[in-house]
């Protein structure tokens, strides 16, 4: 049974919205750097499993909205989202069929590259007073990945998002 595009988009948007709420929730000050990049992780999942619904364009738009939400320069997150989307789509089949642990390692690598790009932009905008804590989100995002992808996979099967058959 092939599900309709509109329904798929609603379901994908719901998960992204939950991710955004998780990104905005206030945390105690010792934990601000521990926050995983929820929205990007959810985006990667959908890029991997529903690539004919979600593409680089949507990733870019979501990134742009994240810029508005988190108060960074407009385009900062957007750039990171579209570069990530490009790499995920390029290695989509290979990534999707990796065992969980290796997949997690790849996510860590991706997030690390993202943070390097982010860091470069911060240096360009003369806004880098950050120390080693800056790299922590790569680790935490990798830590949540197996659970997040498992949960989303379960959700995807239940709601028949992007059923090809």
């Amino acid at each position: 049974m092939r599900s309709s595009a509109a329904k798929d988009y609603v379901i994908i948007c719901i998960t992204l919205l939950i991710g955004m709420i998780l990104m905005l929730l206030p945390m105690p000050s010792w934990a601000v750097w521990l926050r995983p990049n929820w929205v990007l992780a959810i985006m990667i999942f959908w890029l991997m499993t529903a690539s004919y619904r979600v593409g680089i364009g949507l990733a870019w738009l979501v990134g742009l909205f994240m810029d508005l939400l988190t108060g960074s320069f407009i385009g900062q997150q957007a750039l990171i989202f579209c570069i990530t989307a490009y790499f995920v789509l390029k290695f989509q089949h290979w990534l999707a069929h990796l065992p969980v642990l290796q997949q997690t390692a790849m996510i860590f690598l991706l997030m690390f590259v993202d943070l390097i790009i982010d860091r470069c932009m911060l240096i360009v905008f003369q806004h880098s007073a950050v120390d080693w804590l800056f790299w922590l989100p790569a680790l935490t995002t990798a830590v949540i990945w197996p659970w997040l992808s498992g949960l989303l996979y379960f959700y995807q099967i239940k709601t028949h998002v992007a059923d090809v058959e």
Binding site: L24, P26, R35, L69, G71, F73, L79, A129
Partner: protein, 279 residues
Amino acid sequence: MLLLALISMVLMFFDFHSVHFQDWHAKLSVLAFPMQVMVDQPVKLIRWVTTNLKLQRQLLDDNARLRAQELLTESKMQKLLALERENAQLRQLLESTSQAASKVIVAQLLAVALNPETQQVVIDRGSSDDLYLGQPVLDAYGVMGQVISIGPLTSRVLLVTDIKSAVPVQNYRTGARAIAIGSGSSGHLRLINIPDNSDIKEGDLYVASGMGLRFPVGYPVGVVAKSIREAGDRFATISLIPAAHLDKSEQVLLAWPAQASYDQAVQQQLNAAMKEKPS
């Protein structure tokens, strides 16, 4: 991909350099408002519920303590009123205007987290409340920061601990002026260009000096926590703990310092100087 990446970079460039674009950015931030409210409201509700669950005993204790405190404050207030009157008279003698804030409104902080790379917060007042860029934001204990972006319903505040923030300050004890810049992490500020031999002790209070006409004169900024003097270094490393409760405050004050009166005062002085000087 390349096209979108290019667009992002161009957007970032404009956001960094163009004032008009930053204006648009501030206006667009209204799109983020529903999300922010969606997060803010439940968090506030939970906080409200937990505070309401405090034991009655504790409330009674609090009540007794606060009553005692009120008496004390009241008595101090009387002294303060007398001092204020005296001060006003003295200022009149010196022909300068009082620099107290003329108008103040209360704003709520939205309980949303922003990028941890920046020390910023969102408040629920915007251009409809006549905020202006660079407006000082205070809480009951000290200077919190300044308004840097004004949207229709919300605004962003740069806290004093942000790396891009600099506050002209003055030592309350000695009167020596300095500049306090943010360290990028919540919890402390640094004083820059302080000579090694300057008279600064731990526990000294630094207040806004009013240089730069941005922050209200005499409002607390921070207390010296550490002063490190290295033998080979010409400058001392002084770190301050911000006086404002940056992590805990939920309500903040937006002040309109009497800037017009500064200008008038400067004008008067100039005129007086011109008259005295035979041209």
